[in-house]
């Protein structure tokens, strides 16, 4: 393998792309633990609106975040096709409720673009970078922003 | 191959330290935690140990009792027995001697001195 090829490999990352609302998002595959079908969550009283509740993940109690709700798109209407992406942020493990999972893409880091500054749009804070794939705009989710770990006041 | 040593002491710490020091010097250790247990372990050793190290103050059967009991048995008459003592009080040494002890090691023991003492009695 040539030096250049090696470098190229190092600059590649794999993304898991998925649908939230009508938009396409993606996550670095390294933070994804597993993908599960949707099962009804036990609600947590007085929790923030985007915290859907908790589910039983093989004997562990897993918190489920309604990503659409979190991103300001209103509450997800769930059906059997919804998917839970179990992500691990290094500090905690959380399940993200999304509409569907699309694909796993290998992309070059150099192709990632910074999102343009647009103060009106709340979604800015949850998108860390953008990438164009086959004319589709895919938003790389800023996981840490989507899952604040400081205590929050009950709604 | 290596020399077999029976070490009898009711303190786990002392047993651990003896074990460590002796193993590092190439000896193989067998441990017991009082006189009665010491006899049991001795009995089970075949062939007999090359030397025995024993504490004096132990429950059930103390060091003196242990040495006397051991010396009563013919085949153990010549085994070198060293007592571990925290004082070098002359009367204690004499009692040990009377019971049949070969020599002594002062606690806290320096590893070099322990090995030296063993060499003095086992060559």
């Amino acid at each position: 393998m040539t030096d250049i090829e090696e470098k190229a490999l190092a600059a590649e990352i794999e993304l898991l792309t998925f649908q939230v609302g009508k938009q396409e998002y993606a996550l670095d595959i390294m933070s994804v633990r597993e993908i599960r079908g949707w099962s009804k969550a036990t609600p947590l009283p007085h929790a923030p609106a985007f915290v859907r509740g908790v589910i039983n993940l093989r004997g562990t109690v897993l918190t489920i975040v309604d990503l659409a709700n979190r991103l300001g798109m209103g509450r997800t209407e769930t059906n059997e096709r919804n998917v839970i992406i179990v992500v691990h942020t290094g500090k905690e493990t959380v399940g993200l409720l999304v509409d569907a999972v699309s694909d796993i893409l290998a992309i070059n880091k150099t192709d990632l673009q910074a999102p343009p500054e647009m103060s009106a749009d709340n979604n800015q804070t949850f998108v860390s970078s953008l990438i164009i794939v086959e004319e589709r705009m895919i938003r790389i989710l800023a996981l840490a922003a989507a899952l604040p770990s400081e205590s929050m006041e009950a709604a | 191959m290596s020399l077999q040593i029976l070490a009898v002491d009711d303190s786990r710490t002392i047993r651990d330290m003896l074990n460590l020091t002796l193993n590092q010097a190439g000896f193989t250790t067998h441990l017991a935690d009082d006189g009665v247990h010491g006899i049991e372990v001795l009995d089970a050793m075949s062939p007999e140990p090359d030397a025995i190290i024993t504490d004096i103050n132990m429950p059930r059967m103390d060091g003196f009792g242990f040495i006397e009991a051991v010396r009563k048995i013919e085949k153990y008459r010549a085994i070198p027995i060293l007592v571990l003592t925290t004082e070098s009080a002359a009367d204690l040494k004499q009692r040990a001697r009377d019971a049949g002890a070969t020599g002594w090691i002062v606690k806290p023991f320096e590893p070099k001195k322990l090995i030296r003492a063993l060499q003095m009695v086992t060559g």
Binding site: E92 | M1, S11, T13, N23, T28, F109, G123
Partner: protein, 749 residues
Amino acid sequence: MSDEDDPMIEIKASFFVECEELLESLQDGLQIMDDGGADDEIINVVFRAVHSIKGGAGAFGLDQLVRFAHQFESVLDRVRSGAIIADRNAISVFFRSGDILADLVRSARDEAVADEERTQSVLKELETILGHDSNDVVEDEIDDFQPMTLSMDLGLHISNDEVLDTPEQFTTDAPAFEDGYTINFVPDSSLYVSGNEPLHLLRLLREMGQLNVTCDTSEIPSLADIDVEKSYLSWTIQLTTDEDQDAVREVFDFVADLCTLTINGPESSGPMAALPPTLPTLPPLTQQNAPPPGEEPSATATKDLGTLDTLSDSTHLLGSATKPEAISSALPVPAKSGAPEISKSVKPRPTVRVDLERIDRLVNLVGELVINQAMISQSVQEADLSTNSAVSDGLDEFMQLTRDIQDSVMMIRAQPVKSLFQRMSRIIRESSAMIGKSVRLKTEGDATEVDKTVIERLADPLTHMIRNAVDHGVESPSDRLAAGKSEEGIVTLSAGHRSGRVIIEVADDGAGINRPRVLQIAVEKGLVPENVQLSDSEIDNLLFMPGFSTASEVSDLSGRGVGMDVVKSAILALGGRVTIKSNPGNGTTFTISLPLTLAVLDGMVIDVAQQTLVVPLNTITETLTLAEDDIRALGPLTNVIKVRDTFVPLLDLGAELGYRTPLDSYTGAIVLLIAREDGSHAALVVDAIQDQRQVVIKGLQDTFGRVPGVAAATILGDGKIALILDPVDVVANADGRTRSVQPNLQLAG
């Protein structure tokens, strides 16, 4: 020496653990002595405990500890030899010494420095018992060796190389040796009996330099006259070495008193006549040379020289230094099955030390096993298999096994409360001394086992309760005498298992709670309204209210601001309950009831707004079904219910949790009576009660903050999650709405 450091660190850590065990048996022994039941063995146990601590401490150079332990040990040595009688006073000094010893051990362990003043003061007390200024027994070796005058023996001369190899012809004359040491060594018969072996000593000398050994066999009688027990041999050894005389002398350490030994260094001039004169020359003795060569046991030598029996025996031992089999080292100490019963002495049980992390992991896994098993049971039920099927049978057995495993695993973390009670013993000693009262501690059931974490978290509340008992519970000696009681007060600490829980009681035989005074203070502090009617037990419970304190001046002991309310919260946090009972003139008893383990909960499974929740059983006082006229309006939005003679606020759990709006009518509703912190109650409406069961507690992540009213979660048999309620929290934060004005905005997920 980093390799050596690692195992030493472990041994050191294990030493401190051993010290705790020794300190415990020291306490036990002293207690028995104090109770008057001591015999020789108990005194020995006490002595050995201090002796062993000293021994280990010396090995690690813990000087402060060694010094104190040495003094303590010296006194105890006199006691066990009968030179000192352990009277009441002495025993109380011993108790204090035990406390100091414990402090020193812990300081050494934590690498801190202990309070020198206290140590010194107790040291002085020990000295006083000794009766004179303690002459510290110096730890240096007493030199047994008495140097004697030089002698030059002439006899058979064996050169260095030949000592241990083949026997040979020998010249008969040896010139005086002036370049090194000349050692004359004449063993007594007793030397051989002691297991010592001249051959070994000669070997050691050989390692030090050039050796010339001459053996004098002139004393050997004819074969017929030989006494096998006697020693007939002596040696003259010429050693050229760089070592100093002390090193040479050291070789003979063990035998110095079993032989006649002279060592002359190179400086000394000429022979001095004192010992056996020079011997006539002897005919060459070939195979009768001693010491016999190590490699080949000399068979003829054995025959001819009876005294060489021991030597050849030892040669045999040496020869077999090349043992064919290597026996594995360090046999594990087996459990002592036939241990003879020693009256009242505490024999440490055979134990295994396990990393706490491993146990926690095991506890978790077992918890999940239980959940898993419940899920399988459920699925089997739903799959509608006939109850006689092999699957059902197998499942029943599986369920039983899981329960058994769970019970066993839960108890692994259990420890006897004894160490905790012994700490309390010390607290009593110190606190009663501090305020000038005479109080002793009695303990019962200290073998009762409780989860390790619970024990640790009980220490503070218990300490406080004990201090309180000494400070407020027990009267002053004069008051006690006036009341016809003994001068010494007694605090009884007891532990036991009752209906699946651990019950711990702290009882004093003091004056009981001064109810009028307590009520007065509560009114003064605004904790209760004036003129309120309270039952005796309600007055007693006022002690648990935050902000309550009977000390008009803050006493040294109880301190400011640490009231019984802190004790109560600590116990509630453990999933326990504490109640108080007082008998005026006779004393007060606090009863603590705790769950056996923290990982499992006895709960009531309830339904509320289509959600299944678990309510901890220890929070529920009663369950009721409401009749219409039990319910009375209080304010525009709130209701109370009548429970016997009192009115209790009505709370709708579904509404409080935000699952739904208040119901239209609560007639026929099922209500849980929850005990609040102040002893009053609240009624919590639930939709249905499913059953009571033991559930495994699963923590909730607090990613998004603590969920109010929810303590944890559990996984039910159907795999669904049920939240575990913290009803006291719910009640505390409730807004109390049980009549709706407008719909609640929170909707269930």
